[in-house]
Symmetry: C2
């Protein structure tokens, strides 16, 4: 479908009727994607051929680069129409992406009331519920009859993002309850909203609540939308589930990046500049590199031993890697469990027990395997014993450290994702080297 | 709220009226959570006090352990009522969690038709769209008037999971189109469904499609529900967005686990047995340990050099760690970008360019820092130069390898998440050691 249209645009651009027909038949998301492949002039012409009632919807899915080109090129009147038709949260997203001159052009084409709301939205802290909410919800009053409510919904629904849940507010716009459209449709016309509304279990967040908290509430209560109130408990917006899906993916991306020892990035990889990527990574690499120099001290301390049994040097990387890998397995499970609320800090001892047990089993298997490998390779049996008992000990210690450090971080109100592979590896390196050299000293008498 | 109820249950258990009142006031998810803290007898008594119209809903949120206790204890009649009220996808989830004797008791209390559908559901491949769909959707016919459609919806909506989107099917149940409830409410009563239904952009999946594909479609098109059809394109179910949120979290967890070199687990950490945890980890640890023995060969080959300049040994762990960390930073960004469709395999050269540039900057900063550190610590200047140029080279190479291996995996139809920290570290270890020793040979003449 997408390629068909691109084909027509390339080879049959004068046939505007054919293009219009294709556009009318296509999904808005697919249409928006096409703009990425068009140069400026064609993009603009295609944009003007879009079905009028879908133009704003399509526009909200176009990439920021092309949105900018289009806004710069179209007339104020055309822009005004688009902004009118956009949902407010999409307008705010747009403003956040555009450079100052484009922002001015957009604001010039909105009325004073909208401008006021937009400014308010732009002032909510980044990552707050206020910054992701939308104002296009259905609000009802509790003394409305079902008939009146349905009429009201039919009259206003066109501009609303969702209405599975309608919100009941007082004259002062205090949130008084919620009522599902399902219950409205199931109730007789002359009953009142107050008869069927739920005023006890209203789940809501404050504009300043963190969006991670929002996504956790959504997941816990399987909401389809969530009320956002200000400090006086007045309803100011709702958050819809499609925004929550984006929040969840953002939170996950943040965890992936933290766990690989990077400052999380706001933009997709390909849109992030080289310098920004470097700045996100260098401090962590530096910190970890400095921490890793500790291993150097351990080795220096044992230099004479290593000089006598130089065969031991060759096992250092393998031992360190195995410790790092076991530790980060345990840490990943603990971090993920905490993120999904499957693990609590009170599970400390359960996790410690589990990880030491798993460590004993895994360490034993690895040690036995290695023991026979080393015997086959005709290493001295005492060397083999040294290496293998070091492996066992390292795996057990790494598992315990990996399993409990994220819990400790959580307890200290730090992000558990910080306690992932890179840091665990550095800590485990030092410990495994000390263990290795101590065992070597006693078994090999060096 | 939850603690209040627990308190009453502990200290005032005979006051059934008070408990009933509290239960009526609470959110169903919060009520379900309480069962985790109750022992069998109390759990059962509380379960019987639940408001009748919410009992099934609450039941679907109770943990499998307590669900099992309750099913074993209640009468067939009580169980029949619960199963009747459960959404079919929740019943199927329940059956998948329960042991055989409980499954028998459940199936005994369903009618023949339901049993047939359940069996069909249980036969869909794990992780397929069929296994997560639900059959409680609203279906309309295209020659219905809007009035007839609304009447039909009002009559049947009680049992439906969602109806923002209604599905239009032919007599043979072929999927002919979709229509949003919004459009239905906005249209005059005597128009026909066929006048307003969308029959061109129907987004649907097949029962056997992978659920990862489902979640990607949802995210791309911001759907509120998605049609599932069989091989003859007959509508057999829908997938709702709350199921998609679960799918997204499962996919993310799978990636986190793969990236830490583990076989993904089906169950939450605390519910997974020690043996299962060990089995999920040992093969990977073993594979990585064997790969890491390559570093041993590299070191053995350079043993005489190391014996001459034993000071070089102390830098091995730091060099390896830094390489591993840079490589896994790059790999994480590439893997995540691929998972979110922000990066395509065709971006190969863009990523290679970006990662080598970032590697040059980061490597340079780390090398310069280290150079001065080593000079201050009074190391020989040639040793310092050897270590620092090795760091620079290692970081650049690690970044490139980390950035492109996930793309190569994707190109080879492997899961890019396999190319994460553990494997990258092992590969980078060998390369960085070779680089280190080569530079040492030429600079220090050993």
């Amino acid at each position: 479908m997408k390629n068909e249209l691109l084909d027509i645009v390339e080879n049959n651009f004068s046939n505007k009727q054919l293009i219009k027909k294709k556009l009318a038949d296509m999904n808005i998301v697919d249409i928006a994607e096409i703009f990425d492949d068009l140069e400026k002039e064609k993009a603009l012409q295609i944009f003007r051929l879009l079905p009028k009632n879908k133009a704003a919807d399509i526009f909200s899915y176009i990439s920021p680069e092309k949105q900018k080109l289009i806004i710069e090129a179209i007339t104020d009147k055309e822009l005004g129409k688009i902004i009118d038709d956009l949902y407010l949260d999409d307008t705010v997203d747009l403003l956040e992406e555009m450079p100052a001159n484009v922002v001015r052009k957009i604001l010039k084409n909105t009325d004073r009331a909208t401008r006021k709301i937009i400014n308010q939205f732009l002032n909510y802290p980044e990552d707050s519920a206020g910054s992701v909410m939308t104002i296009e919800y259905v609000d009802l009053q509790k003394d409305m009859t079902i008939r009146e409510a349905i009429d009201m919904i039919r009259k206003t629904v066109e501009d609303k993002e969702t209405f599975e849940i309608c919100y009941v507010v007082s004259e002062e716009r205090l949130l008084e309850g919620t009522v599902s459209i399902k219950d409205i449709l199931l109730t007789d016309d002359d009953k009142k909203i107050s008869d069927i509304m739920d005023n006890k279990n209203i789940i809501y967040v404050n504009t300043t609540d963190d969006k991670e908290f929002v996504s956790k509430l959504f997941m816990k209560y399987d909401c389809s939308s969530l009320a956002v109130v200000d400090n006086e408990k007045r309803l100011v917006g709702i958050i819809t589930v499609d925004d929550v899906v984006d929040i969840i993916q953002d939170e996950n991306t943040e965890d992936f990046e933290l766990m690989a020892a990077m400052t999380p990035s706001e933009k997709p990889y390909l849109k992030t500049s080289i310098l920004k990527l470097a700045i996100n990574r260098i401090p962590w690499l530096l910190f970890l590199m400095i921490s890793a120099t500790l291993t150097g001290f351990v080795i220096n301390n044992f230099e004479s031993g290593l000089a006598k049994e130089s065969v031991l040097i060759a096992f250092i990387p393998m031992l360190m890697d195995t410790g790092g890998n076991s530790g980060s397995q345990a840490a990943t499970l603990a971090i993920r469990g905490l993120a999904l609320n499957e693990i609590k800090t009170s599970d400390f001892f359960a996790i410690m027990f589990k990880e030491s047990s798993v460590g004993l089993i895994a360490g034993f298997v690895l040690a036995v395997f290695n023991f026979f490998r080393l015997l086959i390779l005709k290493y001295d049996i005492l060397v083999a014993l040294t290496v293998c008992s070091s492996i066992l000990l390292t795996v057990v210690i790494s598992n315990i450290i990996g399993g409990i450090l994220p819990l400790i971080a959580k307890f200290l109100k730090l992000d558990p994702a910080l306690m992932a592979a890179p840091l665990i590896t550095t800590i485990v390196d030092v410990i495994s080297l000390i263990a290795y050299f101590c065992i070597a000293s006693s078994l090999l008498n060096i």
